[in-house]
Symmetry: none
Subunit: 199 residues, 4 copies
C-alpha cells in the first residue's frame, strides 16, 4: 500500500537524518512518489511521525502482551519467564532497529504533544512492572524493596542496554540472549550476589 511505502520510507529518512532534518521532499523521493502524494495519506509531517510512533509503541506493547508474570511462584520460574519476555522484546527491537533508533533519539524532541504520549506509555510500562514486583515481594521471591524504584530501574536498564546493543552495536540475536541473561541475573541477584544458580 502507498501509505505503508511512505511510512517505511519515512522511517528510513527519520533514522538517518532525524525528524527535524528530514524533509518531506526527501521522504517522497525515498518512496519514489510525488510531493503531493504524501498529503493524500498524511495531513502533515508531524502526523506521519505520530503514526510511526504509535506503531512502535504497539510493537513494544505487543511483544510483552499476553504475559502474566504474576502467575509465577518461584524465583527459578520467574528467571525463566523473564528471559522469555526479555528475549521477545529484544527481538522486536532488533528487527526494527531504525524504529528503535528513532524512538530513543528523536521522539522526545519532536513536539510536546508526543512527550505526553510517551510519558503515558512509560507510566503504563512502569505500572505493569510494578505489579510484577509487588507480586514477587508478596510471594517472598523478592526481598522487601520499593517496587516503583525497582520498576524504574528495570525500565532504565533495559533502555540503555537496548540503545547500546541494539541501536548502536547491532548485536546478533545470539549475542543478545547472553546479554539478556546477564541483565536478568543482575536485577535478581545483584553484582555482589553470590548465590546465583547456574543457567
Amino acid at each position: 500500500m502507498r501509505k505503508d511505502e511512505l511510512k517505511q520510507a519515512a522511517i528510513r529518512v527519520f533514522a538517518r537524518r532525524g525528524y527535524h532534518a528530514a524533509k518531506v521532499s526527501e521522504i517522497v523521493a525515498e518512496a519514489g512518489v510525488a510531493q503531493g502524494t504524501f498529503y493524500l495519506y498524511f495531513p502533515s509531517k508531524q502526523a506521519l511521525f505520530g503514526e510511526i510512533l504509535d506503531d512502535y509503541l504497539s510493537l513494544i506493547t505487543g511483544a510483552v502482551a499476553g504475559w502474566d508474570l504474576t502467575r509465577v511462584e518461584s524465583l527459578e520460574q520467574l528467571r525463566q519467564d523473564l528471559k522469555q519476555v526479555a528475549f521477545l522484546l529484544t527481538q522486536g527491537m532488533l528487527r526494527n532497529q531504525e524504529l528503535t533508533r528513532i524512538f530513543f533519539h528523536e521522539a522526545l524532541a519532536v513536539d510536546p504533544v508526543f512527550n505526553r504520549h510517551i510519558a503515558q506509555f512509560y507510566d503504563q510500562v512502569v505500572a505493569l512492572i510494578g505489579v510484577v514486583n509487588r507480586h514477587c515481594i508478596a510471594k517472598g521471591i523478592y526481598r522487601p524493596i520499593d517496587s516503583d524504584v525497582l520498576a524504574q530501574c528495570v525500565v532504565g536498564l533495559i533502555e540503555r542496554v537496548v540503545v547500546q546493543y541494539v541501536v548502536n552495536s547491532r548485536v546478533t540475536e545470539e549475542e543478545s540472549r547472553r546479554i539478556v541473561q546477564e541483565v536478568i541475573d543482575l536485577v535478581l541477584f545483584g553484582a555482589a550476589g553470590t548465590q546465583v544458580p547456574a543457567r
Copy 2:
C-alpha cells in the same frame, strides 16, 4: 557576564521549548539584549547548544571526578562510597534540572555532531564504571560478571531514575537519598537478594 546571561537565558528557553522550537529571538528577549548581541558571543545557535552541552557534561564529570572507587577493599566500603558518589551526582542534577532535562530530551536530536560527542561521553562513563567493576570482581566483591554489561546497566538505571525523579518529579534532596540507597542495593544485591545488610 553577557555571555553567561545569554547562556542562562538559552537554558531556560531550550528547557521549555526544546532546541528546535527555541528561537534566537526568544533567547535574546529572555536575556534582555538585542538580536545582534547574540552573535558577539556565539557564532551560531548550534554552537551555543554545544557549549551548554559541554558545560553539562563537565558538571557530571566533575561530580564524580576525584573519586577512585578502585581503592575500595570491601563490599561495605564500596556500598558507602557508591552512596557518596551517587548522591553527589544526583545533587548536581537536581540543582541543574533544566540542563538535565535538555540533556535527556533534546541532546540526541540536535545534530549528528553532538551525537558522536555524547556517544564518546557515554563510552568514557561506561569505561570508568567498567574499571571499577573489574576491580571489584578481582577483589571478589563482585561475582564474575560481564563488566561491560554491568556498566551499561548501571548507566541506564541511573539515567531513568534521574529522568523520572529529577526531571519529571523533582524530588527533594532528602527523598533522593533514599532512592539512591535503593538503587545501589539493587545493583549490589539484586531484587531477590536476601543477604542485604542493614543500612
Copy 3:
C-alpha cells in the same frame, strides 16, 4: 445533464466561497461526481467560470432584449415601459441571486480576460441606454442632457439597488415593484422634482 449539474454546483460554491477560495474538489463534491469528471466537461476552473459568466450576461441581456424604448412617444409611455423593463430585469436577478452575487462580487477579480469581457458588456448596455436617451431628448421627453453620463448613472443606480435589495436583502418581488417605481421616478423627475404624476 452532467455538465449542467456541475455548473449549478459551481454556482453554489462560487456564491458561498468566492471564486478563488472555491476548490474544484468542493465543486465536484457538491455535484456528486468524481474529480476527473469535471475535466470531461470543462477544460479548466477558469473556463467554467467563463461559461457561468456568459450565461449570466445572456440572462441579463435576454431580460431586456426585444424591447425597443425608442418607439415611445410620451413621458408617460416611457414611464410605463421603463417599469416593465426594469421589473423584468429585476425579476431575472431575483431568481438568480447566486449568479448575481457572483457577478457583482467576484467577476472583476478572477482574471483580466474577464475584465475586458465585462467592460464590453457594460459598454453595450451603456450604448443601448444612450440610444434611448438620445431618442428621448430628440422627442423632448428629456431635457438636453449628456446622454452618456445619464446612461452611466442609470447603470450604476441599477447596480447598487440590485446589490442592496437583491443580493443582500433578498426582497420579495412585491417589494421590488415599489422600489423599481421609485428609482424610475428618480431618474425621470429627480428628488427635487415637483411635477411627478400619480402612478
Copy 4:
C-alpha cells in the same frame, strides 16, 4: 518609511495584477527590499490588504467629513454644496486611481472578513445620505420620496460614474467638474425635469 514604501509598492502591484495574482515576491521586488522585510511590517499579505483598504476608506470618509448638508435651507444652496462635496470626493479618487481601482475591482473578492467591513462602510454612507435626504424632504426641498432608496441610488450612481470616469477613463479634474454637475442635476431634477436652473 519602509512600511509606507511597501504599501505603495503593494498598491501598484495589486492594481495591475489583482490581489490574488499579486505575489509577495513581486511586491518586495517592486519595493526593492528583501522578502523577509515584508514580514517585519505586515504579518501577512492579507493584513497588508486590510491596511490598504482601511486607508482608502479613511480617504473617502475624510473627503466628505466636516460637511453638514443638513444645514442647507434652499434647493439652490443644496445644489452648490453638493457640487462642493462631490468635487472633493471625485478629486480624492482621481488622485488615488490605483486605490480606487483596487477598491472597486478586488475588495469584495479577497476575504469574507473584508466583505463585512465594506458592508459596514456602505451602510454608514447610506445612512449619512439618508439623513440629508430626510432633511431635504422635511424642508420641502425634496418631494416625498423613499429616502433609503434615494440614498442607495446616489451611492450606486457615484460608484459607476467613478469607475467609468476615474478608474477606466481617467478624466481630467476639469472634465470631472462638468460630469459632477450633470450627475447632481440628474439627482435633483431628473432626466425629464424641465425647470433646471442655469448653473
